[in-house]
Symmetry: C2
Subunit: 186 residues, 2 copies
Amino acid sequence: MHVLNFVNGVDLDGLTGTIGAVTADPALARFQFRARNEWIDGGHSRTTIQKFYGAGQEDATRTEPFILETDEPPILLGENRAPNAGEHLLHALASCVTGTMVYHAAARGIALDGLETTIEGDLDVQGFLGLDPDIRPGFESIRVTVTVFGDFDDDRLAELGALAAYSPIRDTVSNPVPVTVDVLRA
Amino acid sequence: MHVLNFVNGVDLDGLTGTIGAVTADPALARFQFRARNEWIDGGHSRTTIQKFYGAGQEDATRTEPFILETDEPPILLGENRAPNAGEHLLHALASCVTGTMVYHAAARGIALDGLETTIEGDLDVQGFLGLDPDIRPGFESIRVTVTVFGDFDDDRLAELGALAAYSPIRDTVSNPVPVTVDVLRA
């Protein structure tokens, strides 16, 4: 009989298997994620996400694509049909910190009763508008607060706090990433 | 009679008004965006987005919150209930490049027949798993390709290509952003 071994909803046997497979063949750790965004009108656009590459093959588990939309609020000349791109980035970062802490806590055998991540980011639209070259277009600072539910002493809380360092999106936002932009005619 | 002045679906009178207001009072350019993410189980979590601060006040135009979800595919121990955090980041970046090019083209009087932005990002999950300290958890590189529809000569295409520099999320991902993470007990 195989007894399933889950902590925080994470399949620990699966996680151990992944670590073993990647240790034996590091090429399996390479992933490529993708998205395609189509402009609709003004600040409104729609993104389709389905395929990705990882663990040595093209993934084929998604029978339907995910659809996400972006728009702006009226003050930024949109119609509130969806969050704006800055809010989508904050969602990506917050949910990544959540998931990273849950997975890494599970790997350490730390069961969580709950977890909530709030996030806020400041920016100055003078950068976007090109009004002042000394003001960056992007976020100037981002603050993440993770609230963990459970009976943890100070040492355990500090151990949990260190886990956010493994978050891929925290690293992506905190540190430089080479981004190329090519513009082509249809 | 007021004749509406739209290019690419962008209200140019509104954009001119925004630039004028911000030039007169730069404090109006300060925005703060926010999100709250709640862990559900394993890699599955849900984000609520509604309020933000901008143009000198708390926004009150959204009567209902936006809800976004994150999950992982099976190979990353999830159940494909939603895109993962890396894909959400690519959506944020692609839709921001789209919107930035559309708004800045409109400000220059360049009408677009269409625009599509594809994006791909590479990462190595050895970083996330903590298996090799020399491998970063985040994206190692991201490539964005923007296809513009319309009758543009080479000079105009180069002018459009330069507009992605104003994208807030391109700047956020390309360049370092200070991100603090505090972990608290409930």
